[in-house]
Amino acid sequence: MRKFTLLFFLLLLVNFGFSQSFYSNLKATGLTCAMCSYSTQKSLEKLDFIESITPDLEATSFKLEFKKGMFVDFDLIQEKVEDAGFFVGSLEIVFDENLNAENDNHKLINENLFHVFSDRTLKTNVFTLVDKNFVKKSEYNLLSQSTSHSCYKTGIHNDSCCSMHDNLKSNRVFHIKTNL
């Protein structure tokens, strides 16, 4: 029994080590002054899944850290930046550990389902959000050609397009591309 308990704890520990998480670097556009950055930060602070916001005023960017066990809704992040009167220039997602970036792979990380775009198979931890509302139309059209999955059009996970995932907190699937 004691052996079993030990094994159980070991398993828990190993499992904990595998529990991936991520943070984001958000680059806002259309602003220069600290007052505008502050407005943007105040707007973002209304989102309950954000743990902390660290601004870089000179670069008008924000490092966003998220609460564990919560679905991170990047659409809401975009909405809050636009409510403040500005735009999302780019949104980078940085994982704790390297991922095997394979085209059309799906990864459930923390509570978010990600669809990976990649030209080749490689290991990296820095990705950019490339969903329809986050990229230029030309880039969206280009990326659309590199996948047959309908989720890039709809943004919604379903059984026919992606691998099965049960108990998802949200069916919204976000699409990420390697920065390499």
Binding site: T32, A34, E58
Partner: protein, 273 residues
């Protein structure tokens, strides 16, 4: 006029560093963030006494509290009350009191944003009501007249330089003669730049901005009482302090062309998130 162009060009040259569009005497095309309330307190001193202007007994003192609210990212509204003294009446009893109100709304028409760059176009509509005038042959809806104004604002930020142009068409109702109203066109040009800090590293840094604004008003109506100036212009240099990235203290000195009195404006702004 040549001097003004020189100043503007100089401002363009200097402003390779920073600039702001939180103008003191005009509104930028940008809106306030959705759900945000902006409280403003204006205090104006119009130097009537110094110029012994048309029989005034004292300077005009104006106090204007204002509240603005961001209804959505595309629409903001604001309202203000004006309290003032009556500079043409004998001040035997204190005569400071309510003198009018103003309603204003601004709608975003278009915006394009890039890194530290934006072009914005907005429209606005304004209604003003005022009981007493301070400058009897001037027409100014913001300060002392009653009427409606609508127009467009364009603001451009390039390489950290922000300039703004406002153009508005106004219908001003003349006091005591309700059937007579005058059409006016108001144009303004505003520019400003941030002197300190040279490099941002915290929200707590106090910002110091310099502004220069040129405001004009012209009568469009062919027939109007001769006592009104058909054209008036104001050059308004100003300074601005921003504290803790959420409150501002502005000072602006309005130099009016001709024999019109100058004015000192002090403006306090606080943002409620």
């Amino acid at each position: 006029m040549r001097y003004l162009f020189f100043v503007i060009i100089l401002l363009f040259k200097i402003s390779t560093s920073f600039s702001q569009e939180l103008y003191i005497n005009s509104e930028p095309a940008s809106l306030i963030p959705k759900g945000t309330k902006v409280v403003r307190l204006y205090h104006s001193n119009i130097f009537l006494d110094g110029s012994n202007f048309m029989g005034s007994i004292t300077n005009a003192y104006l106090f204007t509290p204002s509240l603005a609210y961001g209804l959505s990212k595309k629409l903001m509204v604001s309202g203000s009350f004006q309290f003032s003294n009556k500079p043409y009446e004998q001040d035997i009893i204190p005569n400071f009191g309510f003198n009018g109100f103003k309603l204003y709304s601004k709608q975003r028409i278009l915006t394009t944003d890039k890194q530290k760059y934006h072009t914005r176009l907005s429209s606005f509509i304004k209604y003003s009501y005022h009981e007493n005038k301070f400058m009897k042959n001037n027409l100014d809806l913001d300060l002392q007249d009653t009427g409606l104004e609508f127009g467009l604002i364009g603001t451009q930020l390039i390489n950290k330089l922000a300039v703004s142009i406002t153009s508005g068409f106004g219908r001003i109702n003349l006091m005591n003669t309700d059937d007579l109203s005058i059409s006016t066109i108001k144009n303004s040009f505003s520019a400003g730049y941030l002197l300190f800090p040279r490099k941002y590293n915290s929200y707590k840094q106090t910002n110091f901005n310099l502004y220069l604004e040129y405001l004009t008003s012209a009568v469009l109506s062919k027939e109007y009482p001769a006592r009104f100036n058909d054209f008036s212009s104001t050059l308004a240099p100003g300074i601005q302090f921003i504290f803790l990235s959420r409150s501002r203290l502005d000072f602006s000195y309005k130099l009016r062309r001709g024999d019109m009195p100058d004015e000192l404006l002090i403006k306090l702004t606080y943002i409620l998130y």
